[in-house]
Assembly symmetry: D3
Homo-oligomer: 248 residues x 6
Amino acid sequence: MPMKPAPRSLLDPAASLLFFGAHPDDIEFGCGGIVAAETRAGHRAHLVICSRGEAGSHGTPARRCTEAKKAAAILGATVEFIGLDGDAHLEIRAAHALKLAGILRRLRPNIVLAPSLVENQHPDHYRLGQLVRDATRLARYGGLRELRRWQSHAIDQLFFYAVTPEAEPRDLTPVLVNISEPEIISTWRTAMAAHESQTSARRYLELQLTRARLLGLRAGVEHAIALFPNDPLIFHSLAQAQRGARLF
Amino acid sequence: MPMKPAPRSLLDPAASLLFFGAHPDDIEFGCGGIVAAETRAGHRAHLVICSRGEAGSHGTPARRCTEAKKAAAILGATVEFIGLDGDAHLEIRAAHALKLAGILRRLRPNIVLAPSLVENQHPDHYRLGQLVRDATRLARYGGLRELRRWQSHAIDQLFFYAVTPEAEPRDLTPVLVNISEPEIISTWRTAMAAHESQTSARRYLELQLTRARLLGLRAGVEHAIALFPNDPLIFHSLAQAQRGARLF
Amino acid sequence: MPMKPAPRSLLDPAASLLFFGAHPDDIEFGCGGIVAAETRAGHRAHLVICSRGEAGSHGTPARRCTEAKKAAAILGATVEFIGLDGDAHLEIRAAHALKLAGILRRLRPNIVLAPSLVENQHPDHYRLGQLVRDATRLARYGGLRELRRWQSHAIDQLFFYAVTPEAEPRDLTPVLVNISEPEIISTWRTAMAAHESQTSARRYLELQLTRARLLGLRAGVEHAIALFPNDPLIFHSLAQAQRGARLF
Amino acid sequence: MPMKPAPRSLLDPAASLLFFGAHPDDIEFGCGGIVAAETRAGHRAHLVICSRGEAGSHGTPARRCTEAKKAAAILGATVEFIGLDGDAHLEIRAAHALKLAGILRRLRPNIVLAPSLVENQHPDHYRLGQLVRDATRLARYGGLRELRRWQSHAIDQLFFYAVTPEAEPRDLTPVLVNISEPEIISTWRTAMAAHESQTSARRYLELQLTRARLLGLRAGVEHAIALFPNDPLIFHSLAQAQRGARLF
Amino acid sequence: MPMKPAPRSLLDPAASLLFFGAHPDDIEFGCGGIVAAETRAGHRAHLVICSRGEAGSHGTPARRCTEAKKAAAILGATVEFIGLDGDAHLEIRAAHALKLAGILRRLRPNIVLAPSLVENQHPDHYRLGQLVRDATRLARYGGLRELRRWQSHAIDQLFFYAVTPEAEPRDLTPVLVNISEPEIISTWRTAMAAHESQTSARRYLELQLTRARLLGLRAGVEHAIALFPNDPLIFHSLAQAQRGARLF
Amino acid sequence: MPMKPAPRSLLDPAASLLFFGAHPDDIEFGCGGIVAAETRAGHRAHLVICSRGEAGSHGTPARRCTEAKKAAAILGATVEFIGLDGDAHLEIRAAHALKLAGILRRLRPNIVLAPSLVENQHPDHYRLGQLVRDATRLARYGGLRELRRWQSHAIDQLFFYAVTPEAEPRDLTPVLVNISEPEIISTWRTAMAAHESQTSARRYLELQLTRARLLGLRAGVEHAIALFPNDPLIFHSLAQAQRGARLF
């Protein structure tokens, strides 16, 4: 039985990240600072948005897609829209997980980010998180008829992001991504502001920046975003782990 | 207010690790493979052993200290013995935490490892874990009379190791350290075998190697040891995180 | 209101066990040692397999069914295959739970085993676990039109098994089944090896035996398998409880 | 390395149980029905009471000890009083754990019961639980000077009981002991009523019987008491497990 | 961005409560005492029952609906029946959540009660709880075509009730509602007894009254029912919080 | 047996609150906004500070006490200092719990606030929280010699506050106190700024205001502080509960 291949060298410039969002603004609000940080570090980022936000209180679907495309460009990411059941109508279906697994096989990312599984949030969020997690498994299985045209693919790691503070899991230890560089914060802010139909109605921008600032204050940096790894991280030396997040 | 200094560069050769053990064999059995991996990678490792194992069923205190020194040498680590309350007599006292904080200030390690806080294990184990955690805080506070002769010191990260499987915390997400290189396993095995007074009485060696092999099988490597970070890890890019531990 | 009937006498030879598996090899890998132990003790064991493994990377459906039949024979169990949504396509549907409840009414087992509910594993596993748990309730309800041809049936206990280590629940206290007798281990090993299409591709056999050995070392026996009871166990005397699993 | 000896045969008449209580009435209120059931089944039960209840609002120490002796006699148990730090003054000290370990070595029980570790209850309760758990380990270690006059002893299992409903652990799966026989309930009730200084001031008797009745209604028996095993139970066949506790 | 309007004044006579039940007797058994207390305090209560209990072992659908109407009248509540998938057939569908959201918009309640999300109970119970929670979100979103004819509505709070003791969540801190007034208990008892087809077959009435009495004994009142808030409560002064539930 | 007396009427002007802090600034930083809100609402607030902060990196004990007195005056609260073991030296001792219980009996508060029990924070914080919780029990017991000169006293409720975000318990559902009134925030800010020796060295003020703003954004108010009740709250009507904290 072959072991898994050796891990990519650290800071591999070819690393590619795939972000899934249930609505046109979820990725930007939940972890846009990370998209900005990774593309700035030379990694490739692609966003897959699974509805056009047609159930929202503000903004037409067309406008929201335009906003999302603009935001993706600001973040240095590519973007695509797919249809599942429609905004606020998402259901757990094997066909959806297979569809997402097909995307994973086509794009072959190293790292995948999806909304967290906490159920006390918008139902599309946690259901998409479940479907993505299932999809990362299905993408590996060789016998799936629907996925036959792509080679099977095993990602390196799945991380969950929280669109809002309530969506942060309480039973998983987070990792924090340091997004303190002024250019990263500024890019993130601009990308969030591109969702003008939403930010003009609610204080999303302040919510997210306050959240990142609070984490930054805890961690002794300017701003940080918490992610929740689906599986334990593997290190070759604890020197990789660097320092933990406790200032006070 | 000054921010914390920039993190050490990855794989900083000057990284130093400090391991605390309640008994002469706890470090070797619980995370000896990590000591071997880190010293092999060029990092400095120092072991602080807080009793002479005088309550154990097998081996005199003198013999156990000799075994511990031999094991440390095999692992490429330095070792010292300190007295707290004696084997199986450890109590939570402020004086103990201050004593350990003094050691932290004197040695100024980047990374500290201590036994886990799970209470359903040998009482010296979890109490030492609590004392070390408290000590990592006290080492930072400027006004402590007892610590005045050393400069205050903030470590980078505290990890907990589990001496036995029961001691693995269930509410913390572990990180796994890959110790698959044959030389590392062989060094670890020899270091454990140096505790002959113990290994001749119970299957400690098989217990620990079976544990590391099971984790390795889960993670797609040969052998691995789980550690439990006391605080969230901070990353500058998710590319640092490499892959997660899920093979099956 | 009539109370439940008196419990079966201990070691009742008529006890019958029903095992549910999502794929042709799940039961053997996850708890085959328990099937072997129970049939050796004179109890009846029946396996219900809910797909033909057609999504797997290795082995045709026909081959996998043949392997499963061979494994069941080795374990001294009977086996049947049922169709739900197909491998890697299982969804939570009331019709599935009713179908499983019909099987429970037809076979009237005392004890039922199903895959655990931990969601970070193959989606068919935890969904089947959920469906079986729901089915054990539906089997009791008198008014279900679809189940009218069988008498209602209340099982004695539902246990969950974990196909892989990641599938072990962290919030339920396990019970351990001692499978140390050499004949039991040998039977289990042979039954797992019957799934040659799988074991030739991945180290499943080593994974499971290492897992059982680690539990055995913890418990002071040769090998053990952990099960997770869905409901509290009832004892008439603590002398029934025998000893707990802590050696180190 | 010798394996542990074979388990006692089921319902071994020689099984002996040791109950620890922090105050003269804790055992009776928290699990007196189990004492009654076990002595009725022919097992030996001994109660160790670690204060004279001198901090309570009602009853002199002398009266409370008299009540405890009367209650023990009603339950068919022997009883002894030991001093630790006094009622409402208990502290975690190594000397206390060693003292309790000495009692374990002297009496050599199979099964030990202690108050649960839930910290939101009378501080003597959870501290005694911690000390007893530590003591069950210390009783096994060969090198403890203070315990030299007794042979080391390994108990079979430690169970926690909850003196009040708030003290029931939420993170451990309980086992239920069926105490439905009218003679058992009647004996328990009489033993509780022997603590007249307490029952005349507060509705302890109703509290405990209501608790046992609620568990009984859930489990499909008349009355039951929940215990919380410190370590997983080991079974040789699932037929030992009998049925689970779910009626509604 | 407009803030939410000021909270209703305390004890607002116009407060209206909406209770969802999966079967004709779930509300009465699980929290009928609260319905009685609230209508007695002058609040409006409406019950929405989502099946006719056609899968139950006892009572025809027609009889059960008659019983439910009688019970609602006794409790001073209005009642309506809706169809989802039928008793024991409930599935998680976006269409169901939208249907429930439509009811929320039509009735515009302040406070909503639904069965708890604990999965180890009748599958209709926890699925209805999930659907109601999702519905409370959907009711707020402006763009949902299916809900266009009603104005969007944000409830004040969602509470979960537990139909049986097993359904009480262990990870949420409950709030207790004091239902000690004799008229409330008497009304509740009569309303439960109205479900004669059920109470003649099983000890539901004793189960619920025992449960409420045990909580009352813990809290220092006669009877109480536990509810589990979906979101943190907001206070303007801690004096609102009154006292906590600890007598023993 | 007498039941507890009827609860105080809502918004009882005589309500008195007692706050415990381990260091001179803990109460102000952790929940000073609540002190301000309660005194503004006409309730009495008293602060008990259990060290002079002599281990801190900044500020002499004398200066820190002066700052604490100034801050208390700003908050409209009275203040006293007591000695336990000294800053960074606190140990769990029965004598300490009794001393705190004596204070409870002397001052007879309705509501008590203490630092949370989360152990991964300054050791004085969680130990003081444990001692206060134990003290609230001891204050009720009639037979304690050390407390004889005061009448026994039962508080209404104990709440925990978190000095820093890490100290927020993850297993308790918080209640939120709305401190949005501009005068409250301004008073709180001034009181925190009075601890100039601390705020000039670290961004405590920004940390706490950011934390309160984030909670406010989540809850739909300007600012809020989370508290963690030690025991379930009791309500007489759900109308008391008002609305929950979910805006996004």
